[in-house]
């Protein structure tokens, strides 16, 4: 990308410099719980990317499970306007 000093001149439009990747990947590393505790170790790029994919997949699964539970809960509750108003106010606390 413009503005970056690329030490290696090998990059064409399609390939990506290692520097760019490792730079951004280190930022990604902080976001992933699995890797945050290993902050001071060197984690390889491919490992970070693998863990990122795994983490996103696990988040997707969590949301799917929550959707399941929520849809069941909603089906069984009355959700009359009183209760709904209470829950809304609780969510805003």
């Amino acid at each position: 990308m413009s503005g970056r000093r690329s030490r290696s001149k090998q990059s064409s439009v399609s390939s990506i410099t290692d520097d760019q990747i490792t730079d951004l990947v280190s930022k990604l590393q902080h976001l992933i719980p699995e890797l945050r505790r290993r902050r001071f170790d060197k984690v390889s790029t491919s490992k970070v990317l693998q863990e990122t994919c795994n983490y996103i997949r696990s988040l997707h699964r969590e949301v799917e499970d929550l959707s399941d539970r929520l849809s069941q809960l909603l089906a069984s509750t009355d959700s009359d306007s009183d209760q709904a108003a209470i829950i809304r106010s609780l969510l805003m606390q």
Binding site: M1, I16, Q20, I21, L24, V25, K27, L28, L31, I32, T45, S46, L49, Q50, T52, C53, Y55, I56, R57, L59, H60, E62, V63, E64, L66, S67, D68, R69, L70, S71, L73, L74, A75, S76, T77, S79, D82, Q83, A84, I86, I87, R88, L90, L91, M92, Q93
Partner: protein, 163 residues
């Protein structure tokens, strides 16, 4: 990056989501988990206010009822193209590991299949933060609903007020 991590955003998202779910309950007799998941994603994307590619991609995707949320995978086209390819391709190494991982990542983040590495990683970090907030918010809604369920209807108002 503070985005997706503030209490305010969490409150706004969880309350908007809950409203959307109540509304859809009034219009249809039951909400399938798939529809609920879709609603949760759409409200999440709206909260992003059009600033990220993944959120725009979610909103641009057609609403699907039932089970076909993902695009159908194309059937493998056989033979003819393979005959034209030079033999060299067979001996070529597979994509380097990093490229393969990036490719997998591109498939996981909506709307990012053709994104450059830089942008992809930025979108990914935003997407992860948003998903985490989504999980927190949906967990909160589930807990409140479950708590309401567990108590007798007459006690509900009183004890929820005390929480």
């Amino acid at each position: 990056m503070k985005r997706w991590r503030t209490k305010r955003e969490h409150q706004i998202y969880s309350s908007k989501l809950f409203q959307a779910l109540c509304r859809s309950r009034r219009t249809s007799s039951s909400t399938s988990a798939k529809e609920l998941h879709q609603t949760a994603d759409r409200v999440l994307s709206i909260t992003a206010k059009g600033t990220t590619r993944w959120s725009r991609a979610i909103l641009a995707a057609p609403l699907t009822a039932g089970t076909n949320m993902k695009k159908h995978k194309k059937a493998k086209v056989t033979v003819h193209t393979r005959l034209r390819k030079p033999v060299v391709n067979r001996e070529k190494k597979k994509l380097p590991v990093v490229e393969r991982k990036l490719k997998a990542l591109r498939r996981l983040v909506p709307g990012c299949r053709k994104l450059s590495c830089n942008n992809l990683l930025e979108e990914t970090s935003d997407y992860i933060a948003a998903l985490e907030m989504q999980v927190r918010a949906m967990t909160a809604i589930t807990e409140f609903l479950a708590r309401g369920e567990a108590q007798a209807p007459t006690d509900r108002l009183g004890s929820i007020g005390n929480m």
